[in-house]
């Protein structure tokens, strides 16, 4: 080497590596933060971390720019100008907390339901939920209602788990992987790593998505389905499998309710419910002795078909007979669904054939003996190496609950749930529905200065568990668990502002929100929502929603509408726990949780929201937060994480428990627990024994393991509910057969949507729109390099997505004369937006789309007012109504799934018209004033001080 070629090859990267957990999205990868001279030199994936194994995505790699973004809030703020003006005054934390405590204390004493407390994309719901419960308002939820509750609810109600946080494809073994809809935003690194594994093995990856970007771009087969029809495609595949008899009968008999007898007594209150014995055990037909016996009776050969007479004289059939009869119907034949789905007959048939071929002809066997819950020994695990994944593509339709149920049914029919090569549960899941609470929030559940009688959120087992008064009116501000959305298991955050503004079912006094950009991309009907936040009572001159407390780390659009702003830290400046009590990071093979800790100290007057919440809890004298005399039980969130116990010996973190830190799952609090986590790379992982790794829903060793770990106090096996009895109870209520009866206004809708067998109906947004006037779909995709609205303040990420065009199928471009860079109007029944267009061929021919949440309001996120995000970027939200069009009786229901209340973002129907050239996007608002104007650098040279 010549002397001149010498470069410093072995410079140490930084002074120190601090390992923590990323929060640039909700994926929760482990990161190594290299700190040099007190600043971040470099962030990389933690090689030892089970979630990401060293890799890190664009968002995570841009953490530096997130951490130092000028949009960071700097101190508590009190609004001094009108809402939306952005005029604030910095105040001290003492004043901020005293103000909040005064507002909240008064409401708690007077009428606790007048506090609506909703949190966005945070990962501390076990704390926020507990806080809200101790406070005593019925109005608490996180953001799942507008995010993906259909995924969670349908999964839990069908198989006792769900995609992403509660399960994952067996990436190591699966041979056919079918992904439905956009999934780039959650579990992103594990999915990318998984796809890489499939590619390496030559496994087939099929993507069902109207748009062929992201993961779909590398799929071996892309099915460019018409939005909202996935359920029909799935049921057609089921039809084909049944017809060809390619189902796993053994699996169905063992692990599902296929054999359970369904009462066939039309016109009675129990029609369609399971026949049960005196102890409530479901009954089956034992076909050898021709007797009706409880399910699970040893040695019983339970029938899957045949109408039988029960001891009480009524007739019943096994639920599987109903299932088979339903889906064998020719209306599910590929020929019958091809038109609606836009998928070719041969493709549907080919998909079904490949699923069948791989499941049954490429079976895997792992010779690990194991025992099931009946004590029966098995020689090994039989794997059907077909796996599925779905996220909001299915979820964000008003038929998403049933569609997701259909997908789980498909997995179960081929015997591919929690087997080698299939979809596998991640601890603490599977968890049967019976292990979930019912919701609390009816009038008898709360009162002045009293904690709520139980958890806010859960699963109603039937109409009797709804949170409604005797007239059927909703008890909660978001109308979750009312007849509007009976199984709104995650609440309906998207309806809170509209309902509070309308005073329907009642007005609130304080709206308290965390990390949810409701004044922009997290709301449907964004323009209307902004107006609701600004609206005042004519009589009093007071805002319709009188007090808004908001916590965020950045100057988002929502900050401008708060009366009191509690500035949060960045993710590198605080403690967090990614807890098994909450949204875990377990893997199918391992129980895992993790922490964040302050790898950098805040340089501003900000505090972690969770610590602030604990402080407020103490000031409000909430049980569990205060010693009763206003003295806090916990110094800060770190202290809470270590010392809080949900049940004796069960705390937020499962690792390093006990006085010596050697207990796992159960154990006394360990004061050094966080230190141990930090030493371990900020996570904890314990492997599940091999004999417990599969068929966890029915695996004795796993169930014992789960009890040992403290997930449950007794074994909680799951029987997959292909036929969902709870849904039938709602149907009976809607048919006026079973009390409590559904109100007349809701009966038709409930009868339609609550089919106890997975069903498909046309999404409301489409069914109610004029198909000729609005011939196109408009949906969003999730860019891999930007997480929701978190990223436009990031100088690196915003260069990748500085603005968003509307992608228009080539055939539509040709038809109305659009070319790249032209402008167009997109019009729905609710509104119109003006957008820049770009042509695309690899897209469903009736689908327009754009990247999600790139459009920003001028002045927000500390961007210049002329930033392209604001001037050319746009949101589809302006086209999406929060309410469905009025029905004939005038009733307007939420634009949501009728079962779960999941916001139906993707039901949107539009038409597109060419607009004049040039200009910018519309609608536009006056630029928001920055709450804390800070001169932006005109140039960044990050790291120049370290340049050689």
């Amino acid at each position: 080497m010549k002397p001149r070629e010498r470069v410093a090859l072995s410079r140490p990267v930084a002074d120190e590596v601090r390992k923590t957990t990323c929060y640039m999205c909700a994926c929760r990868c482990g990161i190594d933060v290299h700190v040099k001279d007190g600043r971040i030199r470099y962030i990389e994936g933690n090689r030892d971390h089970p979630v990401n194994r060293g890799v890190l995505c664009a968002k995570g790699s841009a953490g530096i720019m997130q951490h130092y973004a000028p949009a960071r809030l700097r101190a508590p703020l009190k609004r001094v100008g009108p809402r939306g003006s952005g005029q604030f005054q910095e105040i001290s934390w003492d004043e901020a907390l005293a103000t909040a405590a005064e507002w909240l204390g008064k409401v708690r004493a007077d009428d606790p339901k007048k506090l609506a407390f909703f949190t966005g994309r945070d990962q501390s719901q076990s704390l926020t939920g507990l806080w809200a419960q101790q406070y005593g308002t019925p109005n608490y939820a996180a953001h799942g209602g507008f995010c993906s509750v259909n995924m969670a609810a349908a999964g839990i109600m069908t198989i006792g788990g769900a995609f992403w946080e509660f399960g994952a494809p067996d990436w190591e073994r699966t041979k056919l992987f079918v992904m439905f809809g956009v999934a780039e935003d959650h579990d992103s690194n594990p999915i990318k790593m998984g796809i890489a594994k499939l590619k390496k093995r030559g496994a087939r990856f099929v993507s069902v998505n109207p748009i062929r970007t992201g993961y779909s771009a590398v799929a071996d087969n892309w099915i460019g389905i018409r939005p909202g029809t996935d359920g029909l495609l799935i049921l057609s595949v089921v039809h084909e499998l049944l017809k060809a008899r390619r189902i796993d009968v053994d699996y169905l008999v063992r692990y599902t309710n296929a054999t359970w007898l369904v009462i066939d007594a039309p016109g009675t209150a129990e029609h369609g419910l399971f026949a049960r014995d005196g102890e409530g055990r479901p009954l089956v037909h034992e076909t050898v002795t021709e007797q009706i016996v409880p399910a699970g009776t040893n040695g019983a050969r339970a029938g899957l078909s045949g109408r039988v007479q029960l001891d009480d004289g009524r007739f019943a059939v096994p639920s599987f007979q109903l299932l088979a009869e339903k889906y064998l119907d020719d209306k599910y034949a590929p020929e019958a669904v091809s038109g609606e789905t836009g998928v070719a007959v041969d493709t549907i048939r080919g998909l079904a054939a490949e699923i069948a071929r791989v499941a049954f002809e490429e079976e895997i066997f792992i010779g690990q003996p194991w025992a099931d819950m009946n004590g029966q020994r098995h020689q090994g695990y039989v794997g059907r190496p077909v796996s599925f994944h779905a996220m909001r593509g299915l979820s964000a339709h008003s038929n998403g609950f049933q569609t997701t149920r259909a997908l789980h049914m498909l997995q179960v029919l081929i015997g591919a749930v929690d087997c080698p090569g299939g979809f596998r549960f991640e601890p603490p899941y599977p968890k049967p529905l019976s292990a979930h609470p019912t919701p609390h929030g009816r009038a008898e559940h709360f009162g002045s200065n009293t904690p709520l009688a139980g958890p806010h959120l859960g699963f109603p087992r039937g109409p009797e568990d709804l949170l409604v008064d005797e007239d059927g009116r909703p008890a909660r501000i978001d109308k979750a668990f009312s007849w509007d959305a009976p199984i709104a298991a995650h609440g309906m955050m998207h309806m809170v502002i509209a309902n509070a503004h309308a005073g329907d079912p009642y007005p609130v006094d304080v709206l308290f929100m965390y990390m949810a950009n409701m004044a922009w991309n997290s709301s449907m009907n964004t323009a209307g929502t902004i107006k609701m936040l600004e609206d005042k009572e004519e009589a009093t001159g007071e805002y319709r929603i009188p007090k808004i407390i908001y916590s965020d780390a950045y100057a988002s659009e929502m900050v401008a509408y708060a009366d009191l702003v509690l500035p949060d830290t960045t993710y590198l400046e605080r403690h967090d726990c990614i807890s098994l009590l909450d949204r875990p990071i377990s893997e199918p093979d391992a129980v895992q949780d993790a922490i964040r800790w302050p790898v950098l100290e805040p340089d501003r007057d900000v505090r972690p929201f969770q610590t602030v919440l604990l402080d407020l809890g103490a000031r409000l004298n909430l049980p569990g937060f205060s010693d009763g005399h206003g003295r806090p039980l916990y110094k800060d969130y770190a202290d809470y994480i270590v010392r809080h116990e949900r049940r004796p010996g069960i705390g937020p973190l499962a690792g390093f428990r006990g006085p010596d830190g050697d207990r796992t799952g159960r154990g006394a609090a360990n004061p050094l627990q966080l230190q141990r986590y930090i030493e371990n790379g900020a996570f904890f992982s314990v492997h599940i024994p091999m004999e417990a790794q599969f068929f966890k829903h029915a695996n004795r060793a796993y169930q014992d393991f789960a009890v040992r770990m403290g997930f449950f106090d007794t074994p909680q096996p799951v029987t997959f509910q292909l036929y969902q009895e709870n849904l039938q109870k709602f149907r009976l209520a809607a048919e006026g057969l079973r009390a409590p009866f559904a109100p007349q206004t809701h009966r038709e809708r409930i009868v339609q949507a609550f089919d106890p067998l997975p069903d498909w109906y046309r999404p409301f947004g489409e069914a109610l729109a004029d198909r000729n006037e609005y011939p196109c779909h408009a949906v969003t995709q999730r860019p891999a390099a930007m997480y929701h609205s978190w990223g436009s303040m990031n100088a690196w990420l915003r260069q990748i997505h500085t603005r968003n065009p509307l992608y228009v199928p080539g055939s539509i471009c040709d038809e109305i004369g659009l070319k790249d860079g032209d402008w167009a109007w997109v019009i729905s029944h609710h509104g119109r937006i003006r957008v820049e267009v770009a042509r695309m061929e690899a897209v469903n021919a009736s689908t327009l789309w754009t990247w999600n949440a790139i459009g920003k309001r001028a002045g927000a996120w500390a961007l210049d007012a002329d930033a392209p995000e604001a001037r050319k970027g746009f949101l589809l939200n302006h086209l999406i109504a929060d309410l469905l069009p009025p029905r004939e009786d005038g009733l307007r229901l939420s634009n949501s799934d009728p079962v779960t209340g999941q916001a139906a973002w993707y039901d949107l129907r539009v038409r597109i018209e060419k607009a004049a050239a040039g200009g910018g996007s519309e609608p536009q608002w006056p630029p928001l004033a920055q709450p804390e104007p800070e001169a932006h650098p005109s140039e960044l040279r990050y790291g120049q001080e370290w340049a050689q």
């Binding site: 260069q799 990748i800 997505h801 500085t802 603005r803 695309m840 392209p868």
Partner: protein, 305 residues
């Protein structure tokens, strides 16, 4: 390619300067005449101005001296070296003319030869780039050389007119050089327009085996260094108009005016005016031609954008 004013000025001014210097080096004008002295100074100023202008393009002009080091491999370095070396005979000649009012063949002819070489080096900076197919031809140095010669002769004609020595042969030479230069340029441009692209989006991505390749999304949405530097696009109609303007201003006008000047008689003020206008027209024509030289050239990297 982005038509950067600094580079357009550089190639235009230095080309004219070297052209004029080369003609002066042939000793065709009376070294004692004030116009010739001015001519020498003018040539040096054009060259210096051009070189100075080129440094405006540099990110670190204070290190420009380093550019002299790589003459064995880099045409830009050769150009720099030649430019500096050429100053020696040119300053010598200028000194002799301005101070001593005399012509000496040694620095004169040396200056002529080295000026020509310098112009070739300048041209080769562009012609050597395979990535810009329009430039990557021997026609490029031919154009540069002929334009320098034509410019030199047009300016020489003007100076001759000023000193009352405009000869029909001088005029004829200028006319011939103009015709040759623009003829060569027409050939150059025709070649450019008829080129089938060496590289395409299909070859750039290797995806041609699957089908036709079209950019779907830029890597970053806003402009970047590459698109600003290499992504300049001029409208076909606009370019055609400018090309006509360049031909009229740079070829037709100077040729007619020079012919007229020649007919006006060697000592007439009219001839001075006409030849001055001819020179002005030529400069405008070359500036336009040079703008198009960059603006119409497509860089291979744009197959990715």
């Amino acid at each position: 390619m982005h038509p950067a004013p600094s580079i357009i000025l550089f190639t235009t001014l230095s080309g004219l300067g070297y052209g004029l210097a080369a003609m002066l080096g042939l000793g065709l004008l009376d070294p004692a005449h004030i116009a010739t002295k001015v001519g020498h100074v003018l040539a040096l100023m054009l060259i210096a101005g051009g070189l100075l202008s080129s440094t405006a393009h540099l990110g670190n002009p204070q290190r420009a001296w380093r550019a002299l080091s790589q003459w064995r491999s880099s045409w830009l370095s050769r150009e720099g070296v030649m430019a500096i070396a050429t100053f020696i005979p040119l300053l010598w000649s200028a000194w002799l003319a301005v101070v001593e009012s005399r012509y000496f063949w040694l620095p004169g002819l040396l200056g002529t030869a080295m000026s020509a070489l310098t112009v070739v080096c300048t041209a080769m900076i562009y012609a050597s780039l395979r990535s810009v197919q329009a430039w990557h031809t021997r026609l490029t140095p031919a154009c540069y050389l002929l334009f320098a010669a034509a410019g030199g002769l047009v300016f020489t004609a003007f100076l001759a007119a000023c000193s009352g020595m405009l000869s029909p042969s001088g005029t004829l030479a200028a006319l011939a050089a103009l015709a040759a230069a623009w003829g060569m340029k027409i050939k150059w441009r025709t070649r450019m327009q008829e080129l089938s692209p060496l590289s395409t989006p299909e070859s750039a991505t290797g995806l041609g085996a699957i089908g036709q390749v079209r950019l779907f999304e830029r890597p970053h949405m806003t402009e970047n260094y590459l698109t600003r530097e290499m992504g300049f696009r001029v409208g076909r109609k606009h370019a055609a108009k400018l090309w006509k303007a360049a031909l009229v201003a740079g070829a037709v006008v100077p040729m007619i005016l020079l012919a007229a000047a020649s007919m006006a008689g060697p000592a007439s003020t009219f001839a001075i005016l006409l030849s001055a206008l001819a020179a002005l027209g030529f400069v405008l024509g070359i500036l336009t031609e040079r703008w198009l030289f960059f603006a119409e050239a497509r860089h291979a990297v744009m197959n990715y954008y």
